[in-house]
């Protein structure tokens, strides 16, 4: 939804309001559905497991309906811009690489993938020289390695490079 709108310029707040409210309604319905399965009533030993969540779901549904209908009354000419395409491109420019980065952590470990991520971002958005981005990414991750692995003894995920260096 958001991607489709971005190509044509700005996305209006009204549409996003409606979609988010609808999603919350669905969430509320899901909570109610699961609570019904668990039992929303009274057992021999007190309230059943779904007793409390049932009402949570109910309130989510009601309040999201209120938001939904309030948003419906926004007239098109008074609709505010949720995000315009230039802004959205910038948001994606940081979000997409981050998703790729989190995916890489599982494969390469956190140290190598973080260095690649910082280096890539500096090169792409800041046009830094290889020397500078190498110094920053290796330096930052070196500090983290010292703090986490040596000082606080909190092991972070490692990959093939650390295994090859015998740092596991």
């Amino acid at each position: 939804m958001e991607k489709g709108g971005a190509r044509h310029g700005a996305i209006g707040t009204k549409g996003v309001e409606l979609v988010v409210a609808a999603l919350f309604f669905a969430l509320g319905a899901l909570v109610i559905f699961d609570s019904r399965r668990l039992g929303t009533g009274w057992a021999d030993d007190g309230p059943q497991a779904g007793y409390f969540p049932f009402y949570l779901g109910l309130i989510i549904c009601v309040s999201s309906l209120v938001t939904f209908f309030k948003a419906l009354t926004i007239r098109p000419e008074r609709d505010k811009v949720f995000v315009d395409s230039a802004q959205f491109k910038l948001v994606l420019a940081v979000f997409v690489p981050t998703v790729v980065y989190v995916g890489l952590i599982g494969l390469l470990g956190i140290y190598v993938s973080s260095m690649l991520f910082i280096g890539f971002f500096m090169r792409w958005q800041g046009k830094y020289s290889w020397l500078k981005l190498g110094m920053v990414s290796v330096g930052v991750m070196g500090v983290f390695f010292f703090v986490f692995e040596m000082w606080f003894k909190v092991p972070l995920p490692k990959g093939p490079l650390e295994a090859a260096l015998g740092l596991n």
Binding site: P97, I118, M141
Partner: protein, 502 residues
């Protein structure tokens, strides 16, 4: 005076070499966190919380751990003012009001005076709030010792209804955000019956959602995405601060004692009832403008316009610890994270803390006094250094903050799934901010969900399902009544406005 003796013992605990060292480390880290976009008090503390797991296990370690984390909080409160004044970018939501007069002052070349005024008023606000904590919290805790499940549930109810009644976001959205938080807290194994709730067969969801992950995602990733949108061109004023400027400003400040006192009272009140530092800072600014002789000149660079919001924000941020310690109900998102820390270290926040963990409680309270002194020293002497951090280009800072958030999320339970959840919460935080859904009630509900539900079910067990238990005596009845009044406040105020309009 029982409190004074306890406090002196507390100073004994807090004044060890290790703890004073941790105070300075915490304050410096806190200021850095407060200055950087995307990191703030709540998620800074959340990211560093896992590092204290092992620290808390040694004897006296929980006190050291809370000193470190609370000092990060004080540092972040100080740090927010730096970006507001020098760069016109509020580092924290509660420093928005500081930009109104702080930035014009900086543009007139009086950045040093504005910063000195901001830091000093922050300190004054925090000091007054700490005095309030020192003398009021034993009374509240003693009172709360007699609380049963219905009373505790009514206090939780009051907390959450206060959000609906007092936040500036639409009440329906506040309710949605809050109940979503409760629902997220309910995911996983039901603590009473042991059945699985809302997991839908997923193994990863068995242990539920961790509030630390939510905080890091909502406040950290979400904030970075928002910051990115604005493109970020930092054009800052120079941060020159020397003893002469400090002394001159200090000579001027006593003139604003009335503003200070009023802002402190507003701040303490808003911190104890969960209104939070942000509305407190706006209220204090508005109040100062109304009462000041030069009210009309506010916004053009008045020192008084910096004093009011900073005093209130810091007073509110500090006094938010009072209900957290005495009742187990935090007054701000950062206090909620600290409360989560207490739970993880095996301490039960609430009135029993004042009986069973005297050393911990009074060590913490003493450390608030000391931590704020440390904070004042650090910020007055190192402002140019902190301002330099803001001049690091965003192309370097953004990925580093993302890495810090990812590491923070991973270390909570050494689990990759949590890092993905963090990203999801990041998107949620971005959308929430853009659509004006409040984040604080969501976070508080995730932290308090299990405890609120437990006290509700215990109360229901006692009364065999009768809601009337929440009105069964004067105390619980008046808290519940106040809660319902606050819940209905948006409707009541609407009716009043309509009646006036006619």
């Amino acid at each position: 005076m029982e409190e004074i003796r306890s406090l002196i013992e507390g100073f004994g605990v807090a004044l060890s070499l290790k703890n004073v060292g941790l105070m300075f480390v915490g304050v410096i880290l806190g200021v850095v966190i407060g200055v950087l976009p995307g990191l703030g008090g709540a998620n800074g503390v959340a990211i560093l919380l896992p590092l204290t797991f092992s620290m808390a296990q040694s004897p006296g370690g929980t006190t050291s751990a809370i000193i470190l984390l609370s000092c990060i909080y004080w540092g972040a409160l100080f740090g927010g003012a730096i970006t507001s004044i020098l760069f016109n970018i509020p580092g924290e939501p509660w420093s928005v009001a500081t930009t109104f007069d702080g930035y014009p002052l900086a543009q007139q070349g009086r950045a040093g005076a504005a910063l000195t005024a901001a830091f000093t008023s922050s300190f004054v606000g925090a000091f007054i709030a700490t005095v309030v904590i020192t003398f009021l919290s034993p009374i509240v805790a003693g009172f709360a010792l007699q609380f049963g499940p219905p009373e505790f549930f009514s206090v939780y109810l009051l907390t959450f209804c206060a959000f609906v009644g007092m936040s500036k976001e639409p009440p329906a959205k506040t309710l949605t955000a809050m109940m979503t938080g409760f629902a997220l807290a309910a995911v996983g194994t039901d603590p009473v019956t042991g059945t699985l709730r809302l997991t839908f067969g997923s193994v990863e969801l068995l242990s539920g959602f961790d509030f630390l992950i939510a905080v890091i995602g909502l406040f950290g990733i979400g904030e970075i995405l928002l910051t990115m949108e604005e493109g970020l061109a930092f054009k800052g004023a120079d941060a020159k601060i020397n003893m002469k400027v400090v002394m001159q400003t200090w000579k001027e400040l006593p003139r604003y004692w009335a503003t200070s006192m009023r802002s402190s009272i507003v701040g303490c009140f808003m911190g104890i009832v969960p209104g939070g530092a942000t509305p407190a800072s706006f209220m204090a600014y508005g109040g100062a403008q109304r009462f000041s002789k030069d009210g009309a000149k506010f916004g053009t660079g008045k020192i008084e316009g910096v004093v009011a919001p900073e005093t209130a924000a810091h007073a509110a941020g500090t006094s938010a610890l009072l209900p957290m310690l005495t009742l187990g109900v935090p007054g701000s998102p950062t206090a909620a994270v600290l409360l989560g820390g207490l739970l993880i270290w095996g301490l039960q926040p609430g009135p029993m803390l004042f009986v069973e963990q005297k050393e911990f409680v009074w060590g913490l309270i003493a450390s608030i006094y000391l931590g704020n002194i440390a904070g004042l020293i650090v910020v007055l002497t190192c402002v140019p250094l902190f301002a330099a951090i803001l001049r690091i280009p965003f192309a370097v800072i953004a990925p580093v903050i993302m890495v810090v958030c990812a590491i923070g999320a991973y270390t909570v339970k050494t689990n990759m799934f949590d890092v993905w959840m963090m990203l999801m919460f990041g998107v949620l935080g971005y959308v929430f901010k853009k659509l004006n859904y409040p984040l604080a009630p969501l976070v508080l509900a995730i932290v308090l969900g299990d405890r609120a539900e437990a006290s509700f079910r215990q109360a229901m067990l006692v009364s065999e399902g009768q809601m009337s238990i929440f009105f069964s005596n004067g105390l619980v009845g008046s808290i519940t009544g106040l809660a319902l009044f606050l819940l209905a406040w948006p409707v009541i105020s609407m009716l009043i406005a309509k009646a006036k309009g006619k």
